[in-house]
Symmetry: C2
Subunit: 459 residues, 2 copies
């Protein structure tokens, strides 16, 4: 047993540091058995542990709920995993300043529920809410279904605490909305996927809980009309629009063909389907405004067909179509992408990749849906194989077509290991060089989540 | 004439580089005549000029509209000023993706007007809008009257371009809302007051132009009721509340006593006055909702008295009270502060500084108002002198009382030179050390806006 492992065991005890056989049953080690697993009970414990790792030149991989989609949380056998699972307390909630202090290991859903019990809302929402932790959400700058109104995870944080590679604790746990006192250091840790520091605590900004919720599924005949609909709906709903989700016909028909579990709110022969949802504070007035806006849009000719949810179960039935990934997974083997494209270029982008994929694999399935209100679509490509050379060819098409259109290869999932090879499509050499400068300044020996986001020539 | 000045003159020409007598009439040199003034016509010109300055170890001071309040734009005689005044073009506006590409030297008001002509809105708004430039707004992360709804300047930027100390151009001019492709480098330049790079261009996010605007001035009897009002109004107005501005009685009575130019919408004997404003997309429905919300608040007993603006001129009369700085300046000599305090601690904070100021200067004026929806208040203290030792004593009270309450010494104005001495009240030693690490990594010879925000031991 090495000196470092002994030191960590002495520092953290049996609950705080797992090694050897104790690792086998831990979900963090399901795929790879690392050198050890640090489970700190406090920021101070993590700080001490990082000092030891730093001295020993030991690489570490921070983990939240392990629901990331780009292998940012994956460790090697010679690395030590750091799981924040024991730092899972909501430390306080203040209803007057509408803030919540949380440890990084709290699952997102618990944050949401704690806010709701106080008649408040934490707006971040995504499918993995039960498992994903707030620390993971922040370190990856998670997105989700309500970005069009509330922004990304980055926009919901007032204060942050992180531990640097050398164990230094950077604690900026302020609960104020406005803070122009020097560099906004929390931005370094949000979205950098654990490569610049390990997020340990945060002060989250909460919002008033909505009282009204109105949902419509509308069919649209052209992409140009979809983009016009976005602008007009956002304007007419005056700040209350919380979702603008688009399903291409390929998605809608795939879902409804796969099983008969969905009641079909609209026929399958339209090119685009949009879920428009608004949330507000006055049930009667909001209902009226939503109906008036929908009526206007219908009369303007932008909407070919529409249904408005008249009950919670009707709303859930609409969302169940959007959220039914089972029908998509049934196309396995497949490749899934998460890209942003400027709206004016979106239609041409989709046509471009469709043409290229059809040319190479005539018998393909190309399925598109996503958060169009944010310019973010998910692209699913199934060509009958997931062999590495096929993957590379598909990636070259889907990512390559982004370059000239100034799109980005990862809208919300991050880079991790999966997309590192393609980073230069979305970022210039100068940008990547500056990322390296930052990485080297903050983690000169490269022990923090090595090989993720960017490669550096050290340690 | 030094080699550097000759090189800059050759590179930039008469319009691009001023020196000697040519400096005397330029407003940038009103207080100090610097070594020279660089006025680049393009990012590339600035990049070349910075390469020369970097090689020569020449310090530079970037300037926007010079409306900053913390001397972040002030230069010394041995420094060169960089003014972005010739990079003042709106390069494009896209109504579908609702984005605008601008050069840094465009005045804020021009951005606002250009958006409005297209039925869109750039939500940042502040008093200096006619002079302040978008580059200055971004480099200082400006706030203003609508932060409660739209956030700070930081939240309105999709893409950014900046020139580093060594002339490297970091161009991240993406126009997509979601971009999780590695470190979010633009955050380094926003709010760092020109000490990490010089912002040259930006892609701004626009919003739908509001159609409805409802404004109320309400009187409230206790601070506890003010904070409850904030939560309830925000909730009832369902995302449409765009301002929640509070005037303490000291402010309201000062303004109305100073001149008879204001019609008095409410008597002067209430402790707090709040301007609540909402903006939306449906005139009839929004009016109805606003009136219903106000009626509810009145019936709940939270509101002691209220007037609702029934016309544009009534709205303007209400805002004229809030914006009348003339009455405040009449108290000269005075000290003005811009602090954030967590809402639950705000009342005690104000009582604390009032007690301390009364004890030391019985014949004082203490006037408080601000963006309470953001926890940000402006504090004006007049004690009959602005001598340096008096200034220091007042600062020690106003800033000192923030420390234990986790307030911040600058909510929106920044640090510059003015507040550098007090930075440690709001930031820990570890935070300040990390700021130095970043500064040294990105500007190792310390030529970018030296002496602002933090001091470093170099150059």
């Amino acid at each position: 047993m090495s000196d470092l492992l002994t030191q960590l065991a002495n520092l953290l005890g049996d609950k705080g540091f797992l090694q050897g056989d104790a690792l086998r049953d831990h979900p963090a080690c399901a795929f790879v058995i690392p050198r050890g697993l640090i489970r700190p009970a406090s920021t101070e414990e993590l700080s001490q542990a990082m000092k030891l790792c730093h001295s020993a030149g030991q690489s570490v991989v921070p983990q939240g709920g392990r629901t990331g989609l780009v292998s940012g949380q994956c460790a090697q056998t010679d690395e030590i995993i750091i799981s924040l699972e024991r730092m899972n307390n909501i430390q306080s909630i203040d209803t007057r300043s509408r803030t919540m202090r949380v440890e990084a290991g709290v699952p997102l859903q618990q944050v949401q529920e704690c806010a709701e019990e106080r008649d408040l809302m934490f707006p971040l929402d995504l499918g993995a809410r039960g498992t994903a932790t707030i620390g993971g959400n922040l370190s990856t700058n998670a997105g989700g279904n309500r970005v069009v109104r509330y922004g990304m995870a980055r926009d919901m944080v007032l204060g942050l605490e992180a531990v640097l590679a050398d164990g230094t604790v950077i604690s900026s746990m302020k609960s104020v909305i406005k803070n122009n006192t020097g560099y906004d250091l929390k931005q370094l840790f949000i979205g950098s996927e654990g490569t610049l520091g390990i997020i340990t605590r945060a002060v989250l900004r909460l919002r008033p809980k909505f009282r009204s919720q109105n949902t419509a599924l509308v069919a649209v005949s052209s992409f140009e009309q979809v983009t016009e609909l976005l602008g007009r709906a956002d304007s007419a709903l005056g700040g209350s629009m919380s979702s603008f989700e688009v399903m291409w016909n390929s998605f809608y028909s795939c879902i409804t063909q796969h099983s008969d579990k969905h009641r079909l709110p609209l026929p399958v022969d339209y090119p685009y389907y949009v879920i428009i949802e608004a949330m507000g504070g006055d049930i009667a007035a909001d209902d009226e405004r939503f109906h008036a806006a929908m009526e206007d849009l219908f009369e303007s000719g932008l909407v070919a067909d529409a249904v408005l949810a008249k009950s919670t179960s009707e709303r859930e039935a609409i969302w169940a179509i959007r959220d039914d990934m089972e029908a998509i997974y049934a196309l396995y083997p497949l490749f899934a992408f998460d890209v942003s494209v400027p709206l004016p270029d979106m239609e041409a982008y989709v046509a471009d990749i469709e043409t290229q994929i059809n040319a190479q694999w005539p018998d393909n399935r190309l399925i598109i849906f996503g958060h169009l209100g944010d310019g973010n679509i998910h692209v699913v490509v199934a060509v009958g194989s997931d062999a590495p050379e096929v993957k590379q060819a598909v990636e070259n098409i889907v990512y390559g077509a982004l370059r000239e259109r100034h799109g980005v290869i990862s809208a919300e999932h991050g880079i991790g290991q999966e997309k590192k090879r393609h980073l230069a499509i979305s970022r210039s050499d100068a940008e990547i060089a500056l990322m390296r400068t930052l990485k080297l300044a903050m983690d000169p020996t490269g022990i923090l989540n090595p090989g993720k986001v960017i490669d550096i020539a050290c340690a």
